[in-house]
């Protein structure tokens, strides 16, 4: 369970988040939706201990991320880009991450296989396409076979095949009782993937519920999204 409680983030005079609260539950895929600049990435970065909140808490189970005893085996994270240095090979990148958690080398080959990068594993990350970079990011997130996945814009840069593949993967994770939290500004891609929806706009949660609850009166998730984020009526 991920519990976000009243997060406030100020940067200089700008208020990035003004009291964001929601939960992401086990066995479900939770979609954090909002336009660019709504505060999705900031929320995820605070959750992962990369940014500090001005106030409020973000907990994994009952502890903040930075207090986790075994972070890689608890939370798999993917943020923007590949998260890898362009001069390293994909395999070398995964190897150092695996070492940080004491994982065996064989696990690196397993995740390369899962994300379909086995043939590109010896290529430098600088030569990867956007989609391959996302796959490498996902491989990194899956290394520790974590209970929880936190993914920032996972379908960005993926081709239709890739989107279908990641959807299946995330549904399987949720079906086995794990927690998936992802952010996106792409509504169509998300409607078929998520169980729960949290819509954020200008640093505030404007809707929070199951996919049906949030879509409800608007007909489609996309219509709901635009109505909620531009102030239109249902």
């Amino acid at each position: 369970m991920i519990t976000i409680d009243n997060l406030v983030k100020r940067r200089g005079s700008a208020k990035i988040l003004s009291g964001v609260s929601f939960r992401a539950r086990p066995g479900r895929v939770t979609g954090l939706l909002g336009p660019n600049g709504a505060g999705k990435s900031s929320t995820l970065r605070i959750l992962l201990g990369l940014d500090r909140a001005t106030s409020g808490t973000a907990l994994i189970g009952s502890v903040p991320f930075v207090k986790l005893r075994d972070p890689l085996a608890t939370v798999g994270a993917m943020l923007d880009g590949s998260g890898a240095h362009r001069a390293r090979t994909g395999r070398a990148h995964l190897r150092w991450v695996a070492r940080s958690a004491g994982l065996p080398r064989a696990r690196v080959d397993e995740v390369l296989e899962i994300v379909g990068l086995t043939n590109a594993a010896s290529k430098r990350v600088g030569g990867y396409s956007l989609g391959m970079g996302r796959r490498l990011g996902l491989a990194t997130a899956l290394l520790g076979d974590p209970e929880i996945l936190v993914l920032d814009e996972p379908v960005n840069g993926l081709d239709p095949d890739g989107i279908r593949w990641i959807r299946t993967l995330l549904r399987e994770r949720a079906a086995s009782g794990r927690t998936v939290l992802l952010s996106s500004h792409l509504m169509g891609e998300l409607a078929a993937t998520v169980d729960d929806v949290v819509v954020v706009n200008e640093g505030k949660v404007v809707a929070d519920g199951t996919l049906d609850e949030v879509t409800g009166p608007y007909g489609t998730l996309e219509d709901a999204f635009f109505a909620l984020t531009t102030g239109g009526a249902p």
Partner: protein, 255 residues
Amino acid sequence: MTVPQTTRTRGQEGARALAAELSKLVSLPATWLTLGGTLVVNLILAIAFTIAGLRGSTGTGSAPDIGLASIGYAQAGFVVLGVLAACSEYTGGQIRTTLTAMPRRALQFTAKHVALAIVVLPAAAITAASGVVLAAGVLGDAAAPVTSGRVAGALSGVTAYLALTTLISAAVGALARQTLAAVVVLLGYLFIAGPLLRDHVSAAKYLPDSAGVAMWFPPAGDAGAVTPVRGALLLMAWTAALMAVVVLGYRRWDM
């Protein structure tokens, strides 16, 4: 799945962080390019200094004096290595992978610097010895005689100096988070500001560069000079202080 379910201890966490940081350093091509390039440049400079030494009108110096003269320039390579080790984290968003894998930042920061020291110590020793061996080989009997104790002292002084300079550079790199800015500041200090201060301010002998040079070229016949041991202690203190200051910020910054 082959993921073992283990609960790790603090010591294990530190050992794994060190293994990860070592793996990062050795898998970065820039590490080997910088170290290799530095060795080659150092040898070329050492040849030049040795030839100049042979033609010198004031008589030929000893092999360590001539063979280590190039280190003053070759240290730039170690500065670059330290900065790259720190700043390469900010390429491709790697820092976010690093800090989600190793969220306890002070521990990760320490592991990174220990890993850097482990890689740099042998490289610094090889670089330092290369110039001295070359000078000794070329000069032969023409070199001023020197005790093996003096050679060993100078070599270990240079090795420690280069390693500490690399750590200082990594800390400055972590502070600047930008390769070019950090390299310019460090080289500007080592090659311009440092020498100027040394000539005009007597207290400058306690600054990192002068204290460091005293580790292998103790100024002769100056009662107030910094001895090699004191120089080493001073430079270690500077390194530890700088790392401590940087880690205070590093623990709090938004990445």
